[in-house]
């Protein structure tokens, strides 16, 4: 019933529709689960009749699975923010994780592309779930025990990467989301005229995930990440950490045998796990280049930015052609 331009099932699309009854979904899930085809259920639906009707159907699937079949698999339930709050909260009794899609990072785009949706209302519902999850955790009750997540569509509107990451930072900080998923808008059959004719490169989605990781586990702020690219867009050719390092060479090189953890985390090519291993190992031994090569498969990328007992990048860090030297043109992992 909704008319979201980016969705193949929107009201104005001519795609043939099908729907399952609650019992059909329950039976399929149980039978697939028994054969170990699946370990859980990702439950989602287009709007049928109304938001409340649809949300109730989703909730009933989860409830039946748990109550009548003792289903112990994972249930991720895509909640409908336009549904009544008590329906969403009923769902939280049965699902492992509730999620509500933010869809687009800017309210204006939402108004244009998804007329039935409303940014503040979506945020409200997220805030509601966040409170209930927190209360339940404090009171040791079960309510959406695996937290809350969301999804944003990338490339269907004009939002740049900085806009997207700002929205994510808000969601992680103020709504305590477990994950924000980025989904590059992909061509669909029966596309709407409101959409850009060509999808964004999938690499954009990949870079956003990397940036998301940098915010959550590497101590980068949105502004720092945004500054690594150009005009609010991340560099598509190189990862955002390397891009930031190339623009902030004064910070480097960092000595692996003495550098602080926060600084080692900023070295391109060193992951969080590698850094943690370095911190532990260096209490017992002086680390050499060979040692670092064992901890990361990207030593070449890291080398200009770090010092080991037997390695100094000397002038390398400041060379004008450093970017070319490290970023050997290769196929991106996402085509």
């Amino acid at each position: 019933m909704f008319d979201c331009a980016y969705c193949i099932n929107r009201r104005s699309s001519n795609t043939p529709r099908a729907r399952f009854t609650v019992d059909e979904v329950v039976t399929l899930t149980i039978e697939f689960y028994k054969r170990n085809y699946i370990e859980g259920l990702f439950l989602s639906s287009g709007i049928i009749q109304s938001a409340d009707y649809t949300m109730e159907q989703l909730m009933l699937v989860a409830k039946k699975l748990r109550r009548e079949h003792g289903f112990a698999g994972y249930i991720h339930l895509k909640s409908i923010p336009e549904a009544s709050p008590w329906l969403i909260e009923q769902a939280g009794l049965w699902a492992d994780r509730l999620s509500i899609n933010l869809e687009l990072p800017m309210n204006a785009s939402l108004e244009r592309l998804a007329p039935e949706k409303n940014g503040p209302r979506i945020k409200n519902a997220m805030g509601q779930i966040r409170e209930r999850i927190q209360e339940a955790r404090e009171e040791r009750r079960k309510f959406s025990p695996a937290g809350q997540s969301t999804q944003m569509i990338i490339g269907a509107d004009e939002s740049n990467d900085a806009d997207v990451l700002k929205a994510s930072a808000d969601l992680y900080g103020n709504y305590k989301l477990k994950r924000v998923y980025y989904s590059a808008f992909s061509p669909i059959e029966q596309a709407s005229r409101l959409l850009p004719p060509k999808p964004p490169p999938l690499a954009r989605e990949h870079r956003l995930y990397q940036a998301d990781w940098l915010m959550r586990f590497y101590g980068f702020s949105v502004d720092e990440i945004a500054s690594s690219g150009d005009a609010g867009m991340l560099d598509l050719e190189i990862d955002p950490k390397l891009a930031w390092a190339l623009k902030n060479r004064g910070v480097f090189p960092i000595d692996v045998n003495s550098g602080a953890r926060e600084l080692l985390l900023r070295v391109p090519g060193l992951g969080k796990r590698a850094v943690d291993k370095i911190i532990v190992a260096r209490r017992h031994t002086k680390l050499r280049a060979e040692d670092i090569k064992r901890l990361t498969s990207s030593f070449k990328r890291a080398a200009p930015f770090l010092i080991t007992a037997d390695h100094r990048p000397s002038g390398l860090t400041d060379r004008a052609d450093l970017r070319q030297r490290i970023a050997t043109p290769k196929q991106l992992s996402l085509l």
Binding site: R35, Q190, D291, L334
Partner: protein, 466 residues
């Protein structure tokens, strides 16, 4: 000096390794002097003189590493592990922290390979159903990369406790009969059914989850490595799906947008947007059909009384009697409430009476159902309904009876002694007083009489204010 031989069984022989380790370390045998002999011949040497060797104490992390690495197919695994422990007991106690040490690094990589193999086996085992005299039974043939069958047993028992199943592998088999787990000899792929009963449905599902526009072959092969393909029915579809991907995407991009056939189903749209609850009956039907948010009573006790009354009273939750009769304030506290109303000259039948929480939360102790105070979070779950209810009932004044009602109405914790008296719940005129059950709990007769007097005074104030 002859070699020091440790006999080991095929596969992951954790026990055999442990025994060899104890003997070796106890006798100070250097790593290069040990022969780790795996297989039938080796067993001739027997597992003798074990009892006299003391266990070797290693940090927990090392024990966990050993558990994993013995599952590896690398024939050097036992020698490498022995070498690790040898160095640890000879001064390098913290060796495992030196992640850059070549031996530690190699063992950690082996452990990682095992964890990955376990993870893949958990995901990629495919059961096929057969029916025998005892009902349905599920059989899978699987080829793990390493000797991990025994290590996966707990996982599968936990996932499928109430199903009869067998997992057959070239290294052994696992059988679960809903009660007992048994290990058996290596299986044969022909012992599992050749086709699954609902694989057709699974194929359709698998194909429909594939988005050709998001094809990433490298990522796909990382998630589902080819070595596991031959025992997974859905993988036969992958080549065809990949082949069609680019042409399907081109078609989608080049297709001109089609105008919608059915543009504006006005009536359905109007109905969709109109989700507002319009009557108390409608709301009560929703509440009655809903799952309780508290542990205990299954029946919802909804409010009662006329619409647009002067006063609506909000209590905490139904108690034992209320749950049985399905009406609010009919138990001991309800009787006291009635008496207090009478004293203050209020006609209950002209008031609306309801509870903040609509279900009786209790703990069963023997035959008795002991009342439990709802938590803040539970009260909030019910708050939407209470707000909607009062919006529909539209009383002039809302009286909160007790701390739970006050919390529900104001949305934040309230102390009765401080907040007692008239107040506002948002734009709604309100009054906060005690819950009648509080009076029942007072042990001292005089105190109770005094408290009742104060309660009646609050009720008189309520009446006077409307």
């Amino acid at each position: 000096m002859t070699d020091f031989v440790v006999a080991l069984a095929e596969g992951a022989d954790l026990n055999g390794f442990r025994q060899g380790l104890r003997r070796g370390i106890a006798q100070g045998v250097a790593p290069e002097a040990i022969v780790w002999q795996v297989g039938a011949e080796a067993s001739l040497f027997g597992q003798t003189d074990v009892s006299d060797a003391a266990p070797v104490r290693v940090p927990r992390a090392a024990a966990a590493l050993i558990d994993l690495v013995v599952c590896h197919r690398d024939p050097e695994r036992y020698a490498l592990l022995y070498h690790l422990v040898w160095r640890m007991v000879r001064g390098e106690r913290a060796l495992l922290e030196v992640h850059t040490d070549p031996l530690v690094w190699r063992l950690e990589r082996m452990a990682k390979a095992i964890r990955r193999d376990l993870h893949k086996m958990h995901a990629f085992v495919r059961f096929r159903r057969i029916d025998d005299e005892a009902g349905e039974r599920f059989i899978a043939w699987f080829e793990p990369e390493h000797f991990i069958l025994a290590s996966t047993a707990d996982f599968f028992v936990k996932r499928y406790p109430s199903m009869r199943w067998s997992i057959l592998t070239p290294d052994g088999s696992l059988h679960w009969d809903k009660e007992r787990l048994t290990f058996g000899p290596p299986g044969d792929p022909r012992d599992a059914p050749a086709v699954g009963d609902i694989e057709g449905a699974w194929d359709v599902y698998f194909q429909s989850t594939f988005n050709p526009a998001r094809l990433n072959v490298a990522q796909m092969q990382k998630e589902m490595p080819r070595k596991y393909w031959r025992n997974m029915p859905e993988t036969k579809l992958i080549p065809g799906m990949l082949q069609m991907a680019s042409s399907r995407v081109d078609e989608m991009i080049s297709a001109t947008p089609q105008p919608a056939i059915k543009r504006d189903p006005q009536k359905a749209l109007a109905k969709m947007l109109d989700t507002e609850i319009k009557s108390l009956e409608q709301l009560n039907a929703i509440i009655s059909a809903s799952e309780p948010f508290v542990r205990g009573g299954r029946r919802a006790v909804i409010g009662e009384g006329p619409s647009h009354p002067d006063i609506a009273f909000v209590g905490e939750q139904p108690g034992d009697q209320e749950d049985i009769q399905g009406r609010p304030f009919v138990g001991p506290a309800g009787q006291l409430f009635d008496a207090a109303l009478e004293k203050s000259g209020i006609d209950r039948s002209r008031c609306y009476v309801t509870n903040a929480v609509k279900h009786f939360k209790f703990e069963q102790r023997g035959k008795r159902r002991i009342h439990q105070t709802p938590t803040t979070g539970e009260v909030k779950h019910y708050r939407w309904w209470l707000m909607k209810e009062l919006e529909l009932v539209r009383p002039k004044l809302v009286v909160a009876l007790g701390v739970t009602a006050a919390l529900a109405l104001s949305g934040k914790p309230v102390t009765i002694s401080r907040a007692r008296g008239t107040c506002a719940f948002g734009s709604q005129a309100g009054l906060i007083t005690v819950h009648p059950s509080y009076l029942l709990r007072l042990p001292d007769e005089d105190a109770r009489a005094e408290a009742l007097q104060l309660f009646v005074r609050d009720l008189i104030n309520a009446k006077a204010s409307v």
